[in-house]
Symmetry: C2
């Protein structure tokens, strides 16, 4: 026996979400039916609104409901630094630590030879045009510490350094709170190489 | 920094779902933005349709988009047996094994003294009225093998037996494919008590 059509369709919608299998989708669909009418209406409205109202900032590529985004409009931020990240979630992570006060540039992806993502497929050209007026003195590459993240940071450094721009990247080393015993070899190697004086 | 309002609201909607924490909700919300317009519209439509079009069968309490449900309308099914389950998912699980051909009764919950759910809070009265015409000879209680499931099956057996109706419940024993070594003591005890001849 199959579920009644409306629930079967909802299960299908839920199971298209990443990391949601058939069983979880079924649980979520049944939960939806037990939710208040207004709550479900609100959920449906939020889905459509997120899709309709959000856009990418024309300057930095960050997700925003107001173009240019709040960070690009904020004149108190340091114009001389641009921190390059993969996506908007990374911007939020960085903003949460309240330590960086420069500008951002959101690539919307990473260069990935394995998956056929070339430099032209990510938001890189606009980064280069942002550097044209000579105001920016440092580009901080804050891509993930993965193979694709490394490939992207290497590429950015290779094209920007000849233009005389300082290119830095986030430090590699032991995660705070981690055990040396469980650290992988490459992390340990970087942690020794980049040791700092006490 | 917070996310733009439309995405913050969508994250909130997702995180109201059971088992979805803040991090997963954020991932799902960002995934939603990367989905095709039509897919998101379809998702929103399915949410509303499931809530609007589904109802509970007036006879058995099963979830249906057509009251009475397909099983209650099916005249080829055995009228003398009623299998009692907690919810519609259990009906589907039972139908999937294609072994049971009687009717169902969906309680929409289990009696739970711990959580203050009394017999009056679940769909029990209509089960008793279904037994009035004397056509049903066996009630199979197929509630979960948990404390609440046991409490519910005990209660049902206690009120139906005096009326001369045969009340049975699903067998307890080793799950097929399981190791004796890892079976809990109560399961093992039931498996010995209910041993069958080879």
């Amino acid at each position: 026996m199959l579920y009644p059509t409306p629930i079967a369709k909802l299960i299908e919608s839920y199971s298209k979400l990443p990391g949601i299998g058939k069983k979880t989708a079924t649980r979520l669909a049944f939960h939806t039916i037990s939710m208040e009418d207004e709550e479900v209406a609100e959920f449906a409205k939020n889905l459509l609104a997120a899709k309709r109202e959000l856009t990418y900032c024309a300057i930095c590529g960050n997700l925003t409901d107001d173009d240019p985004c709040a960070i690009c409009r904020d004149e108190t931020r340091d114009e001389t630094q641009i921190l390059v990240v993969e996506d908007s979630r990374d911007v939020t992570a960085m903003e949460n630590i309240q330590e960086y006060h420069g500008r951002y540039h959101v690539l919307g992806g990473l260069i990935s030879p394995m998956n056929g993502v070339s430099p032209d497929d990510i938001n890189l050209k606009s980064l280069i045009s942002r550097l044209m007026d000579g105001q920016v003195t440092e580009v901080i590459v804050a891509t993930d510490a993965t193979a694709d993240g490394e490939a992207t940071s290497m590429y950015i450094s290779r094209i920007l350094k000849p233009a005389g721009i300082k290119v830095t990247r986030l430090a590699r080393g032991l995660a705070v709170g981690s055990d040396i015993e469980y650290a992988d070899e490459v992390t340990l190697l970087r942690a020794i190489e980049n040791r700092t004086e006490l």
